[in-house]
């Protein structure tokens, strides 16, 4: 961490040899083979980037952490790539960010699960061509001891369960990241007439997988989509304390930016990915995904069905 000798740089050229000779112990000497190897590596990366097929412009898919964490995309994306030749770059973020990436033209397709927020973007015209892809449901997961006693009142709704958690001051971990799950959770608190806050209410600001792990370690309740819960169940000390309330439906739509507003998007690639997600092949893959590993499907295909609500 010696002071960099900018002066030496300045007087490079003819006197370079002398300044070297004066000696700067901290200056690293790069052996020629190492430099050559690094340059070759860099060139290799540049060359390898685009796909080999005819349509080689990558499709950027902005989606939620729940589809990524459950492993569904690891199945669907290679299937799409093989069928069409478009390479896909997946960005897994909260639903809020995914929609914004799409609206700004930084993503070509958006796969999200926050119907109210999606309608806002449709309303402004930033996103278009919204299609129903699939659904699963949210469940309320909690520690086996169930300190808020939610399992003891089996007929309760999700909102009443959250009310109980608040009343008993039992710990609850919120995503707090404006994801589809977080938005659903906020709607449920509103229905419960509770403004969550205080020592018992933790906001992880992370994806579903990390949030489940935190809830398990902190012996807390959390709202999770069933898919991620099942994918993580084996290493969690969390059980489902409430499920089946119609208010817990979790519906996924695919949308894409309006190419008139943001011309730089990959229109053909984006449309191809949308078409693929609602195609019989993808829908069949969705239907069977997870059955083998988790004993139950994680998502239910919905393409072509009427909109819920």
């Amino acid at each position: 961490m010696g002071q960099p000798r900018l002066a030496d740089r300045g007087q490079a050229g003819g006197r370079r040899g002398r300044s070297r000779a004066r000696g700067d112990r901290t200056r690293p000497r790069w052996p020629a083979p190492a430099v050559a190897a690094l340059v070759a590596l860099g060139l290799g990366l540049l060359e390898g980037a685009p796909g080999q097929g005819a349509p080689d412009r990558a499709v950027i898919l902005a989606t939620t952490t729940s589809t990524q964490d459950s492993g569904l995309l690891d199945l669907l994306v290679p299937l799409f790539e093989r069928r069409t030749g478009y390479p896909v770059r997946t960005v897994a973020v909260g639903t809020g960010a995914a929609l914004r990436l799409g609206a700004d033209g930084d993503a070509d397709v958006v796969l999200v699960h926050a119907p109210a927020l999606e309608r806002e973007y449709l309303g402004t015209g930033a996103l278009i061509d919204r299609r129903l892809v699939m659904h699963n449901d949210f469940v309320l997961a909690g520690p086996p001891a169930d300190p808020a006693g939610i399992r003891r009142r089996p007929a309760g709704t999700a909102a009443s369960a959250l009310g109980q958690i608040a009343r008993t001051g039992s710990r609850f971990v919120s995503r707090g990241d404006r994801s589809g799950t977080h938005l659903k959770e906020q709607a449920l608190w509103k229905a419960a007439g509770v403004v969550p806050g205080g020592d018992w209410y933790l906001e992880s600001g992370q994806g579903m997988g990390a949030t489940l792990t935190i809830a398990s370690e902190k012996r807390a309740y959390t709202l999770t989509d069933r898919g991620t819960y099942l994918a993580f169940r084996r290493r969690l000390e969390l059980g489902i304390v409430l499920e089946g309330d119609p208010a817990l439906a979790n519906v996924y739509h695919v949308l894409r930016p309006d190419p008139v507003r943001v011309p730089r998007v990959n229109v053909a690639g984006g449309r191809a990915l949308e078409d693929f997600l609602v195609s019989p092949a993808a829908q069949a893959a969705i239907e069977t995904f997870g059955v083998e590993t988790h004993g139950a499907p994680l998502f239910f295909p919905d393409a072509g069905k009427p909109e819920p609500e």
């Binding site: 112990r25 960010a97 914004r100 600001g205």
Partner: protein, 231 residues
């Protein structure tokens, strides 16, 4: 580019308005990384001195390990500290996971090799003749050590700067072992990741500017001390 302008404007208002959240996050960053740097100095300086002056079997291997450790990937540190501290892990009973203590621990693992390695280099750059002369003049071991440390104090200040800069800007380990819990383990870097994933790019830029400003101030202060004392 409009985004950057908005971000800078928002950064100004977040700071000028004394936003309680941002203030708390900044304070937590300074606390955690300050504690980790302090502990890494307590641990790294004696280790570095021992490696520089000692002659023992396995010294070469130890130095290689320290040099490797200077570039430990934070996510690897985060993963292993998590595994140790999870309730299913050997130190789970401490209940440290997802607390600031866990973050200090992870950052200490990242910073200690940096301090050790740079201390080692700082002591070794003092010519051997100097030591021989000191011994010849009748200096005791303790006196010799003291003089060597005084001689090496400026490079060691640089070590402290490198360690602090490394841990306060680190995000992988803090996210994994801290959990980014609001009001508890949320620091500037993890808050930036969150703001970006929420789509709050202005806030993300504001937090980045704040982080850069802190690093600049700390480094400027240390550089000022260094330059003032330099011969």
């Amino acid at each position: 580019m409009a985004l950057v302008g908005d971000g800078l404007r928002q950064a100004f208002w977040l700071l000028a308005g004394g936003d309680a959240d941002v203030f708390g996050i900044t304070l937590r960053s300074l606390e955690v990384s300050g504690a980790a740097t302090g502990l890494s100095l307590l641990l790294g300086i004696p280790l570095g001195v021992a490696l520089a002056l000692g002659r023992f079997p396995g010294r070469g291997l130890a130095i290689s390990l320290v040099n490797t450790g200077m570039g430990l990937p934070p996510v690897v540190v985060g993963l292993f500290v998590s595994i140790l501290l999870w309730r299913s892990g050997p130190f789970g009973f401490l209940e440290w996971i997802y607390t600031p203590i866990a973050m200090v621990l992870a950052q200490l693992v990242i910073a200690a090799p940096i301090v050790t390695g740079l201390t080692l280099a700082a002591i070794q750059q003092i010519p051997d003749r100097f030591r021989v002369q000191m011994r010849g003049l009748g200096a005791s071991r303790g006196q010799l050590l003291w003089v060597l440390l005084r001689e090496a104090r400026l490079p060691m200040l640089a070590a402290a700067m490198a360690a602090f800069g490394g841990v306060i800007s680190e995000v992988g380990a803090s996210l994994m072992v801290g959990g980014n819990i609001r009001g508890q383990t949320r620091v500037l870097t993890t808050a930036t990741v969150l703001a970006a994933s929420r789509g709050d790019f202005e806030v993300a830029i504001a937090l980045s500017v704040l982080l850069l400003a802190i690093m600049f101030l700390v480094n400027a202060a240390l550089t000022w001390i260094q330059q003032r004392r330099a011969p």
